[in-house]
């Protein structure tokens, strides 16, 4: 019984956490875990491209308004996260310290 519970728990956790690693273009990865400035710059570019792609799909009528608003908020928030992390890394590097 206990093994079945543990197996279900691990499976559930995997299903819940998978998008953080396997999301489209890795966009769901938390910016706070990225320590490479080049990677963050690439992430910001990828987010902007995804934004424009979804915007285009919305204006073409291929994406419902509700989905577009959700995507827009999500991509904007991820962009803010990435930009903040980049600012922080740039500052700590300028101060001579490494990323935490």
């Amino acid at each position: 019984m206990i093994f079945a519970t543990m197996a279900i728990g691990v499976l559930l956790l995997t299903v819940l956490l998978t998008p953080f690693w396997l999301g489209r273009g890795g966009l769901l990865q938390a910016s706070a875990s990225i320590n490479s400035q080049a990677q963050l710059l690439g992430l910001k570019d990828a987010l902007l491209k995804a934004y424009l792609k979804d915007e285009l799909a919305f204006t073409a009528g291929a994406l419902p308004a509700r989905s577009w608003h959700q995507r827009r908020d999500f991509l904007t928030n991820r962009y803010i996260d990435a930009a903040r992390r980049l600012d922080f890394l740039a500052r700590t590097q300028a101060d001579g310290g490494g990323a935490p």
Partner: protein
């Protein structure tokens, strides 16, 4: 037949048993049967003397209980104190006189509410001070921390959003 591990089940059973039994054990500790086996005496409830008796007995601490006044307690010691209170009420003494009598005999400890004088004033002032000064103090420390964090080279959100708009406009061209 496979052997099932019994340790987790046994631990669960013991935890459940302890959860069920612990309150009962504490309850037995608070009011032992020897304290409550006295026949309850009928205390006055009506008239000016009844009111005075209730008021005074309600302000005196039961020495053998937890958080109860002698009025609420049926312990032997509380019964004795109530008898003395009743005697004094019937002899026409005032509330302050009766409380003073008990304070002189047992100390300020016997009162459920410590008198607001001397060191005891701390017990009155501290909760009020925490209630009044606590929220501003928490706000001040959180605000100071936020200010400290926001200065580590991180731009405000409005600046980042402006940058995002500019870059989107460039890409749309």
């Amino acid at each position: 037949m496979t052997k099932r591990p019994m340790a987790p089940m046994l631990a669960l059973f013991l935890m459940l048993l302890m959860t069920l039994l612990t309150p009962r054990l504490f309850a037995l500790g608070e009011a032992g049967p020897s304290d409550t086996d006295e026949i309850k005496k009928a205390w006055p409830t009506e008239g000016a003397k009844g009111e005075l008796f209730h008021e005074v007995a309600g302000q005196l601490r039961c020495p053998t209980c937890t958080g109860l006044s002698v009025l609420e307690s049926d312990a032997r010691f509380s019964q004795q104190i109530k008898e003395i209170v009743l005697e004094q009420v019937e002899s026409g003494r005032s509330k302050d006189d009766i409380l003073k009598y008990f304070t002189q005999r047992y100390g300020a400890w016997i009162l459920r509410s410590p008198p607001a004088q001397g060191f005891n004033i701390v017990a009155w002032a501290l909760p009020i001070a925490i209630l009044v000064l606590g929220p501003p103090a928490v706000w001040f420390f959180v605000w100071r921390r936020r200010r400290t964090v926001s200065t580590i080279g991180v731009r405000p959100t409005s600046d980042i959003l402006r940058e995002m708009d500019i870059r989107l406009a460039e890409l749309r061209r």
